[in-house]
């Protein structure tokens, strides 16, 4: 239960704990420390007892555990769940299968723990290589492809303008592709002109 100093690992004394949002010195290492304690520290873990969970005659039973009493239905699939199987999450009751499905299919935002930012990749491909000119011959079409292919893919959770980067990447890459086409036509024209000029009369 002891709250320990994050510097030396020693238990913090009462005056540090009672400081009420002020910095006090750790009694052992002297580091000035501010501690915010919340009631969750004292809440015991809610583990249901065997008696609470045993199903009686006429009781609805858990979908996953036939011998256990159901306490709530899953808010997604409607299966009956015992206290062990029910998970309180986002203000609803979930069964383990729905949580797994939500996580793998990325349907529930609050279950995602990683995202690839395709819009940032597309924008980076459309901008940085252009500074070196020649790599943009490859990267501009790649940026355009990414922008179109991943148009519907969600971007960062904590970003508001979700499509702005993709739109910018498309514009930059189209401009670069256009310039490459113009450059190609110009080179072909110059080449043909040079060939014609060198033809012996």
């Amino acid at each position: 239960m002891a709250i320990r100093c994050t510097g030396c690992g020693s238990p913090l004394s009462n005056d540090v704990l009672e400081s009420g949002g002020e910095f006090r010195a750790c009694p052992f290492c002297g580091s000035e420390t501010m501690v915010l304690v919340f009631p969750a520290l004292f809440t015991p873990p809610s583990v249901p007892t065997a008696a609470e969970m045993a199903a009686g005659i006429g009781d609805a039973t858990c979908f996953y555990h036939a011998s256990k009493r159901a306490s709530a239905p899953c808010s997604q699939c409607g299966r009956f769940l015992c206290k062990l199987c029910s998970v309180q999450f986002s203000g609803m009751v979930w069964c383990p299968e729905c949580i797994e499905a939500g996580r793998t299919r990325k349907r529930v935002v609050n279950l995602e723990n990683q995202r690839t930012l395709y819009d940032s990749i597309a924008l980076a491909l459309a901008t940085w290589p252009a500074l070196l000119f020649s790599p943009s011959l490859v990267t501009a079409p790649a940026a355009l492809f990414l922008s179109i292919f991943y148009w519907k893919r969600p971007t960062s959770i904590v970003r508001r303008h979700t499509k702005l980067r993709l739109v910018l990447a498309m514009i930059f890459s189209l401009v670069q592709i256009g310039l490459w086409i113009v450059f190609g036509i110009f080179m072909v024209y110059q080449f043909r002109k040079g060939v014609l000029n060198n033809v012996p009369k």
């Binding site: 239960m1 002891a2 709250i3 100093c5 994050t6 510097g7 020693s10 238990p11 913090l12 004394s13 009462n14 005056d15 704990l17 009672e18 949002g21 910095f23 010195a25 750790c26 009694p27 052992f28 290492c29 002297g30 580091s31 000035e32 420390t33 501010m34 501690v35 915010l36 304690v37 919340f38 009631p39 969750a40 520290l41 004292f42 873990p45 986002s90 203000g91 609050n110 995602e112 723990n113 990683q114 995202r115 690839t116 930012l117 940032s120 990749i121 980076a124 960062s156 959770i157 904590v158 508001r160």
Partner: protein, 330 residues
């Protein structure tokens, strides 16, 4: 909440490294830590109902966000480029920017830095975005009422329930008679003495320079002395801040450092302004008074500092074996 409403609010604290960025966001019922590389993001959620403790600890730490590094590199490049130029228009401004940045980073790293840890029943996580005191305090002020609103009030006698006396005694080397609420007493250290000796050497070098202003033979020893002073003073401040009854000595070490740094910075600033205003005839209006002030400040800090440093008690000899009690043999 409508579907179009943005579900997160940015919290204070933002670490921007070259390849990583760490931020904290507040959702409806949870705290979201976002660890992002340029092209992907990793999320950690801490539900407000699960947060047990938040501990912020002041500690000297050097963290370099990329924008400071970019500024330093740009200023150094400009300085180098214009040093080669005959007019040196931007050499001194670039030098001042570099010096100011170095002073800021030093001050922020030594006196305004912290670590912030968040504890739940099953995890202890460092919140990397909170590495400076000001955002950490803002974060604490903002988040504490929210968590209290979700979890309710603290139970009766919670302080006694967190740390028992037995645990405190165990931590104090299992000695029940040992006082548990005091810092280790300050002891004599040559490091502190060296700091004040370097301050006195600085005063001597400044005096020699004032006697012979045209000579440049003192600049290299001066720079070496200043670097040695900076290193020793940094280590001494960290050491003294972890000892009992060393506040005055720590203040004097800090004072010596500030005197030397302020005068050096003042001279550089003055020379750059003078060069901008009168590029042809740069006259030293302030070098002499600044030098006198530096010598006076150095002596005012070093003499009491040396007296205090030598009055610190000697540290007790360390026992050579487990059975050595420190008593003389019979």
């Amino acid at each position: 909440m409508s579907p179009n409403e943005f579900p997160y609010r940015k919290l204070p604290g933002d670490f921007r490294g070259f390849f990583r960025r760490n931020t904290l966001w507040l959702g409806a019922d949870h705290l979201l830590q976002v660890d992002s590389t340029r092209f992907s993001e990793t999320y950690k959620r801490f539900y407000l109902r699960d947060i047990q403790t938040i501990i912020i600890r002041k500690t000297p730490r050097f963290v370099l966000p990329y924008y400071w590094l970019v500024l330093a590199v740009v200023a150094a490049l400009i300085g180098l480029l214009f040093k080669l130029d005959s007019r040196r228009i931007l050499f001194w401004p670039a030098t001042i920017v570099l010096a100011a940045e170095a002073v800021y980073l030093y001050a922020a790293s030594m006196f305004q830095s912290c670590t912030c840890h968040l504890f739940t029943r099953v995890s202890k996580v460092e919140l990397r975005s909170l590495f400076r005191l000001r955002p950490a305090r803002q974060f604490a002020d903002l988040i504490a009422p929210r968590i209290a609103g979700v979890q309710g009030g603290m139970p009766e006698g919670w302080v006694e329930r967190t740390t028992t006396l037995a645990e405190l005694f165990t931590a104090a080397d299992r000695n029940p008679d040992a006082p548990v609420d005091v810092l280790p007493t300050g002891t004599f250290s040559w490091l502190t003495v060296f700091v004040f000796v370097f301050v006195l050497i600085d005063a001597g070098l400044t005096w020699l320079q004032l006697r012979n202003p045209s000579s440049r033979s003192f600049s290299t020893p001066n720079v070496i002395n200043m670097i040695a002073l900076a290193v020793c003073a940094t280590l001494a401040i960290v050491r003294l801040s972890r000892q009992k009854g060393s506040q005055a000595l720590r203040a004097l070490v800090l004072g010596g450092l500030i005197v030397v740094a302020a005068v050096t910075y003042g001279v550089v600033l003055f020379q750059s302004i003078a060069q901008q205003l009168h590029p042809e005839t740069v006259r030293d209006y302030l070098s002499y008074p600044l030098g006198i002030c530096e010598i006076a400040g150095d002596i005012a800090v070093a003499i009491p500092g040396l007296v205090l440093a030598f009055r610190q008690p000697q540290s007790p000899p360390k026992p050579t074996s487990l059975f050595d009690t420190g008593a003389p043999p019979a």
